[in-house]
Point group: C2
Chain length 392, copies 2
Amino acid sequence: MKINTNFEKMPQNYLFAEVGKRTSDYVKANPGKKVLRMGIGDVSGPLAPVVVEAMQKAAAELGQKQGFRGYPPYEGYDFLREAIAAYYATLGVRTDPSEVYVNDGAKSDAGNFGDIFDVDNAVLMPDPVYPVYLDSNLMSGRRILYMNGSEENGFLPLPDPSVRADIIYLCSPNNPTGAVYTREGLKAWVDYANDQGAVILYDAAYEAFISDPALPRSIFSIEGARTCAVEMCSMSKTAGFTGVRCGYTIIPKELSRGGQSIGALWLRRQATKFNGVSYPVQRGAEAAFGKEGYAQCMEAIAFYKENAAIMGKAIGSFTKYFGGSQSPYIWLKCPNGLKSWAYFDYLLNDLQIVGTPGAGFGKMGEGYLRLTAFGEREAVLEAMERIQKAPF
Amino acid sequence: MKINTNFEKMPQNYLFAEVGKRTSDYVKANPGKKVLRMGIGDVSGPLAPVVVEAMQKAAAELGQKQGFRGYPPYEGYDFLREAIAAYYATLGVRTDPSEVYVNDGAKSDAGNFGDIFDVDNAVLMPDPVYPVYLDSNLMSGRRILYMNGSEENGFLPLPDPSVRADIIYLCSPNNPTGAVYTREGLKAWVDYANDQGAVILYDAAYEAFISDPALPRSIFSIEGARTCAVEMCSMSKTAGFTGVRCGYTIIPKELSRGGQSIGALWLRRQATKFNGVSYPVQRGAEAAFGKEGYAQCMEAIAFYKENAAIMGKAIGSFTKYFGGSQSPYIWLKCPNGLKSWAYFDYLLNDLQIVGTPGAGFGKMGEGYLRLTAFGEREAVLEAMERIQKAPF
């Protein structure tokens, strides 16, 4: 029996598991201290009332012989696929409900999508980057190519035509940097992917934070994307679903490689290794996309964006930062030339603030730290007060 | 860009997707006919009242700032891990809550567990077999070895010491045959696996149907299993959770290969490609394992077992069958020497009964058909009346 030795190529701990461990170790050793968590991008809730009602009603249905439902469709119930397609229409993007694949969170699909591609493909991803793209591809033994994000390109690298890539990960608004591609930037990627026959896996988890109408909220608002892109989106941030677990992936009908439909391959994968999303969860998700539900969700997003504005003002007073205005993330340059984990430890031990070290997102993240705007207002204000009063 | 050509080794459609398609095609073409579904092993519900209440209460918590919870732990909440360990104690099996990994259904873990093993391992599985074991390993490009189930061995193959295997799938009570390993049978497998350094992936999804105290309900009731086995179990059948989505995998602390803890490898995989199970679902699962909840679930199991007894009596009057008494499956020999899909089509077109063709579970399943006992009583009685009245 041989274990998968590709696991040895991954960092021992998933980044957020390591952040969580250091935090809980600190809390155990210092029970009296009030720790302010701005590390993991988790929302502070609560769920919109119509979402709760929909989930409760669905649970009640399952308790009645008449309303009982068993295995859900692998790709999601039609009622939710239609609600998601209707939501895309409000963004000015045409997608058919049959192109919507419902999942238990975008991380699952981001991690598992590689199953349908050969191991022998070159994977291009930004550095810094959400660790799931990297770790899941290291785990499968794929060759990784990086495109460097930096202050010079605003952490929004553009394609280099001399680089040959098969699978391309993009995330906009970016996790961790909060940077958002313009339409021109995305168009360059779409043209590059179509030229190369590559597939873009586009992570739109934070699209709901974009309020600037000039910025694209879906890659499918870019001409040519339907022949080269898959879009993954999460309800974690849009609707506070981190604990509810629901997301979706859009695979255009036109998208095929090697003569095979990507959507059909993915459905075959899901039929084998997945059994659909919980019915009450899907009803909750449907409610979140309804008129009333979406308005309630947008209130929460507006609140988080105010947090981000407060944080940006405070942090901008002593160091450079990216993100914030069209995303829930503040990507700040560690003061005094500190390295990421050193600044993380300083914030935790001296100020009792939990961030996420930029170096955990890739070598280009060294010297940066990510803070999230998902906290409660009081905690955000207190954290910013602590950080501004601190010696550095 | 190369797609994963291993997909071509799999049948085009997942078995149950094909059964579903033929059924819905028939229903569309014959809208007036009453079709009785005994194909996919889906329960007819409803959920136990305490489970519904627990899910509703949890949804309400998420709607309150105080009770809100975000990302669940990758491995499940302690409250549920403890409830599952306590349930194992009632089966006479010691397991620590830290050995319990909660998932969104046993199929996900059965399909994904291979991620932690090298592609270059020999996989041994019974034929006939639940298609997920086979398809997920074909998809990864692994070498498959079969052990034949037949009338001679009661569809319970025993190890052949001359065969070298690294990963072994066992399912007891078996899907599709309903056959249940004795303690001696499982002991032979445990000894073989320990000798070979192999790992047994033991699917106990139907353990709650075992009422004969002489038969093992967990592989961990067999001495030596903690150094060679992982047990996967589902709440789909135990608690009618097919639409709710929750299961669990037990990985003993003692289990390691290549110097690495299997539990740690699995957690690393889950941290990368999974984000935990919905909080209301986990509260529902906890309730199902409570005293009142379990009693309510056992009423449903007793009802399905009565169905199986009714079916066994009717089917035994005209052909040979396996399973039934300690499982929800009746595995019957197609009458008149018919092949599996021919009998499937006959049952669908002439009697409007949906079964699952045995050939879909492997070459040794040819000439058999699986019926499930999860239907409503009226439908079971009507199906048995139709089948007994039929010319063959």
